[in-house]
């Protein structure tokens, strides 16, 4: 693995940046692996990386039907935060946030991780009660959280319209200063490069078409590049979780929906933080390139079509212009959708399945980017040891049978 540094940058500048080596190999699949991970999004690649880096398991293949990072990892709006309500979620997302804080150094890859602060707005008495409760819960869980008054919101983000005459006046906000953004592609590339360097085979253009089960135990997968045997298999395919589960003969509490986002033309720096509003339903940040990155809710009908309706975007733009009137004259450049896998309690499913040796990590829905390192970390532990880590044990599939749901609809109400 080429080590990136000021010296390698200078050296390659002299050769006009034409001699950088490939960052990972493109090997042909071997007939068998210890562990096969299905899906080379951030979560799958992080799983492979931590299997190799922390558990010494390097006979690993990551199979990707398209190109790595081409799913939701490359389509999301990169909001990172850990201010979830329940203890189980706070522990999992906060573990992930702590990993983010050292990840660029660990991977020797610039993830453009920026802890610029995430501000959630309060628009009514119910919001205020919910926000106050969540800030208190966060603090008890050692997650940084502050409750701001309307004036403090205005001071923190002056372009917000805090006038009492707006349709849904801003009554305050909650702020997680350690939250922020990262460069989505870089996360996939950084994990891919570091996993590859430790011997993991990343195989792109290799779609899994069947899961082989013998006597209740997984034995391998069928793919568009032939059969591949494996002792253990992890399903980490986001919007396609139910499709892969069906191949192994079970159902999930998951529905797949399009989630759209859009970006504006690049502007000079105008917004230094992430603004989210559950009440009027929109969120926005500004990328380092200068584009406003805007998102909101998913399209209600089930879909695998990777596109949504324009009316969904119109709704969120209406909300945005109400919150920040100066954005009314900004032109929008592109919109797109990803297919997100939504659980009824807005929390993921991470752990064992009814098939021995087959593990699943999915159901992150609209908010899994922030959890990329933590998600891979706990799944790697689960696959390596055969048992869930205490951090992911509460997120087992059987919570839907026992009834111990982890209802994060309030903390996850805006898709992010």
């Amino acid at each position: 693995m080429t080590k990136f540094s000021i010296f390698s940058l200078a050296r390659n500048a002299l050769s006009h940046h034409e001699r950088w080596p490939e960052q990972w190999r493109s090997p042909a699949p071997k007939p068998a692996y210890d562990v096969v991970i299905i899906g080379a999004g951030g979560h799958g690649l992080a799983t492979a990386y931590y299997l190799a880096a922390l558990h010494g398991i390097t006979d690993v293949a990551v199979l990707e039907k398209g190109w790595l990072g081409g799913g939701n990892t490359g389509r999301n709006t990169t909001v990172i935060r850990s201010n979830y309500l329940w203890d189980e979620s706070a522990a999992l997302y906060e573990h992930s946030l702590k990993l983010w804080e050292g990840l660029a150094q660990e991977l020797n890859y610039n993830l453009m991780f920026s802890q610029r602060g995430v501000l959630n707005l309060i628009h009514n008495v119910h919001d205020l009660q919910e926000a106050t409760r969540r800030v208190n819960a966060n603090r008890l869980n050692a997650v940084d959280a502050e409750l701001l008054s309307t004036d403090e919101v205005k001071a923190f983000c002056p372009i917000l319209n805090t006038a009492p005459t707006t349709r849904y006046p801003i009554m305050g906000g909650t702020l997680q200063r350690r939250g922020g953004n990262a460069r989505h592609d870089a996360v996939a590339w950084g994990f891919a490069r570091a996993a590859d360097a430790r011997g993991v085979d990343i195989i792109q253009n290799c779609e899994v078409t069947g899961i082989d089960v013998d006597g209740g135990r997984v034995t391998g997968v069928q793919t568009t590049q032939g059969a591949i045997a494996a002792r253990k298999v992890g399903i980490v395919v986001a919007g396609h979780s139910s499709v892969l589960a069906a191949m192994a003969g079970f159902r999930l509490p998951i529905e797949s929906h399009p989630l759209q986002a859009l970006v504006s033309e690049p502007l000079k720096p105008v917004l230094h933080c992430v603004i989210m509003s559950n009440g009027v339903h929109v969120y926005v940040s500004q990328s380092d390139k200068g584009e406003l990155v805007i998102g909101a809710g998913l399209d209600p009908p089930n879909s695998y079509g990777q596109r949504g309706g324009l009316h969904t975007i119109e709704d969120q733009m209406g909300a945005l212009v109400e919150l920040i009137p100066i954005f009314s004259r900004v032109r929008m450049m592109r919109s797109w959708a990803g297919i997100v896998d939504v659980c009824p309690d807005a929390s993921p499913v991470i752990g064992k399945t009814p098939v021995d040796g087959l593990y699943i990590n999915g159901g992150w829905g609209t908010g899994g980017f922030k959890a990329t390192p933590g998600s891979g970390w706990v799944l790697a532990h689960t696959i390596a040891t055969g048992e869930p880590h205490p951090l992911n044990a509460p997120f087992a599939l059987d919570r839907f049978t026992s009834g111990t749901l982890i209802d994060e609809h309030a903390a996850a109400a805006v898709a992010h």
């Binding site: 078409t209 069947g210 396609h240 139910s242 499709v243 069906a246 191949m247 159902r251 999930l252 509490p253 998951i254 529905e255 797949s256 209600p300 009908p301 089930n302 879909s303 695998y304 079509g305 309706g309 324009l310 009316h311 009824p344 839907f400 049978t401 026992s402 009834g403």
Partner: protein, 101 residues
């Protein structure tokens, strides 16, 4: 935006409707159902990639519920039929979930 044919009001845009999720999920007999059966009824979904039977309600119109067969990749609406009637036969299409696509 989807364009859906309400059986009573005719073709109307998606924004007039409320989506009601997977159709034909029968409530089990409470006396004869264990926890796994309830989990299956309440939470587990087929989430088909392909032709999906689903419920819609014409919220801004006649406010009546009905069923729709829609392809979840192409969004093509293949049939509209009353609640309580069985799912109609449809031609197999490329990308139908039955192929494991």
């Amino acid at each position: 935006m989807l364009w859906i044919d309400c059986p009573w009001c005719g073709p109307r845009p998606e924004t007039e409707y409320r989506y009601g999720g997977e159709a034909h999920i029968a409530r089990p007999d409470p006396a004869a159902t264990d926890d796994a059966g309830w989990a299956d009824y309440l939470f587990m979904r087929t989430n088909t990639k392909g032709v999906h039977a689903e419920r819609w309600m014409h919220r801004d119109g006649c406010r009546r519920w009905f069923n729709v067969l829609r392809h979840t990749v192409s969004n093509e609406v293949l049939a509209v039929y009353p609640m309580g009637t069985p799912r109609p036969e449809t031609p197999r299409l490329p990308g139908d979930g039955a192929e494991g696509a």
